[in-house]
């Protein structure tokens, strides 16, 4: 059973994306052989107050439960964020999303550490986004920058119950974080491979050999990116890692409990 842990609904502020509605996502998931998705609300990443966007997300996905599960944004420097976190759990969210670079938070921001600890206490993972778009095409107003490896390391070290899902990282960042953590800390971090190169450089194969496929989960970044890309990457793996087993969304949830 494969769940896409990095999908969104809603428009993107810097370019048009076609049909970012849950109904379209359901059709795409069926076509791609995916059983469901953890779904974020794309515009909320750029809102100061994520509350209204979370409400919109939960309402929009309700008719599509349990295939589409909401992943609300929790901003840890916003009043009543702990209440919002509990509300997310009560709404059936398997995880929450956070965008520290968009909120002007540095790699060692105390509020972010409190957030991942609190989410961990509630058995929820925190989904972090390294990037939405290629650096070379960003709008001149899109100045938040990529999430840094230092930020991920700091959050992974924050506590034993922390579970992170980092989406949109490339090989270098993944290696820098992984080998900068202890065994216990590494086990708290999952990666999607939507931005990891396949052949001929074979970065994904190298990562499967070095840090293990069990650290990776399936994420498409729909509606921003072609849903076909992660599976194409798996289909082109060299024979020695072609049958490597990925982690699943349920593995993340189990680990977070």
């Amino acid at each position: 059973m494969t769940i896409d842990v990095a999908a969104y609904i809603g428009p993107y502020p810097f370019r048009h994306v076609p049909h970012p509605e849950p109904e379209a996502l359901r059709r795409v998931l069926a076509r791609e052989g995916l059983e469901g998705a953890w779904v974020g609300h794309l515009p909320s990443a750029f809102h100061r107050d994520p509350g209204p966007g979370n409400a919109e997300l939960i309402a929009a996905l309700a008719p599509h439960a349990p295939a589409l599960r909401p992943v609300p944004v929790i901003r840890p420097d916003w009043p009543q964020w702990t209440r919002a976190l509990r509300a997310a759990r009560d709404a059936g969210a398997p995880a929450i999303r956070a965008y520290p670079t968009h909120w002007g938070m540095g790699p060692h921001d105390r509020a972010m550490q409190e957030l991942v600890l609190a989410a961990g206490e509630l058995g929820m993972a925190v989904v972090l986004t390294v990037r939405f778009e290629d650096l070379r095409q960003r709008h001149s107003l899109d100045v938040a920058g990529d999430l840094s490896a230092a930020a991920v390391r700091a959050l992974a070290r924050a506590g034993t119950r922390v579970r992170l899902v980092v989406t949109g990282a490339g090989r270098e960042m993944i290696e820098e974080v992984h080998w900068g953590l202890t065994d216990d800390e590494r086990a708290r971090v999952y990666w999607d491979f939507a931005w990891v190169w396949g052949p001929p450089e074979d970065h994904l194969a190298k990562l499967f050999r070095s840090i293990g496929a069990q650290r990776f989960v399936y994420g498409t970044h729909w509606p921003l990116r072609l849903t076909q890309n992660p599976r194409a990457n798996l289909d082109l793996l060299p024979d020695d890692v072609r049958d490597a087993r990925l982690a699943s969304a349920s593995d993340i949830c189990e680990a977070a409990r």
Binding site: T2, P200, N229
Partner: protein, 298 residues
């Protein structure tokens, strides 16, 4: 079979020929110890995807002895020699672009002559000079005389200078193409970074510019807009440095509702039309691959 992998219907896995119009190979002078493995990986993935021909270039020493995008004459020759050797070793699968640096016109024209005699079927221009620079005119002219398409490295919407290259965008290439209507220009890697939505209207009215779809970018909407803006007769399929994105785009094209003829045009027929006659005998003879790429069932 592995858990946690999807089971999808792969409608892109076609028995039709497939030409990668934008590929690269490495060599011993490229400054990396794994160059053989990288070249082998391209062929390995190509076999799995069903690539009939890799139309490829070698970019000098890839920065080892002179900059990738500003290769010295010696490195241009070194890289072209390496590509000629790959061509000789892989006559069934490889085809060649001759790389030139337009800052040395005499050397560039001599390399075109030498490598065409060795089997090159196209010219590769990097970012050593902006695309609309007059120094490109003799190269574009010579390419047109030989019937060679020119693959030009492009940044989609240049808003400023970027380090290590004198980068051009679609509007720059359109100016060169208008000056050389007899020559075909392949606009490199529509998905290779920058704003592809800017490129498409910039070249829409210049019929001898053909974007290739290669590049690591797999933005949703890009293929739809390219088809709507230029049509399937103007697009070439390719991979460049990331073959999984090439496969993803193939699979995406297969679900966009194109006719079989339009899909075949992008996969291989446009390339057969643009390159010199006889460049792709396995396609031109209507050859079909013996085995379609297997859907993995995962």
């Amino acid at each position: 079979m592995s858990a946690s992998r999807p089971h999808a219907d792969q409608r892109s896995e076609s028995p039709e020929p497939l030409i990668d119009s934008h590929a690269h190979f490495y060599h011993a002078g490229a400054g990396r110890a794994d160059w053989r493995e990288v070249n082998a990986a391209r062929f390995r993935a190509g076999e799995r995807m069903g690539i009939t021909y890799h139309v490829a270039s070698v970019l000098g020493s890839y920065g080892f002895a002179s900059p990738t995008y500003f290769p010295s004459p010696a490195d241009v020759t070194l890289g072209n020699d390496a590509m000629l050797a790959i061509l000789a070793a892989e006559p069934e699968r490889a085809r060649m672009y001759v790389v030139v640096n337009p800052n040395d016109t005499e050397h560039a024209l001599a390399e075109i002559q030498r490598c065409v005699q060795g089997g090159a079927i196209g010219v590769k221009l990097l970012a050593s000079r902006r695309a609309d620079d007059p120094l490109l005119d003799p190269i574009a002219e010579r390419a047109g005389e030989h019937g060679l398409p020119v693959l030009h490295h492009i940044w989609q919407h240049r808003r400023r200078e970027w380090p290590s290259q004198e980068i051009s965008d679609g509007a720059d290439l359109a100016r060169l193409a208008r000056r050389h209507p007899r020559t075909s220009f392949i606009l490199a890697h529509l998905g290779g970074g920058g704003d592809w939505a800017h490129t498409l209207p910039a070249v829409a009215d210049v019929p001898n510019v053909y974007p290739d779809l290669s590049g690591s970018g797999v933005d949703r909407g890009m293929l739809d807009l390219a088809l709507a803006g230029l049509g399937p007769a103007r697009l070439l399929w390719g991979c460049d440095l990331t073959m999984e994105t090439g496969l993803a785009k193939l699979r995406a094209l297969a679900v966009l509702g194109l006719s079989a003829d339009d899909l075949a045009a992008i996969r291989w027929r446009n390339a057969v039309r643009l390159f010199p006659a006889g460049s792709f005998p396995r396609c031109e003879a209507g050859c079909r691959r013996a085995q379609p790429p297997a859907a993995s069932g995962r």
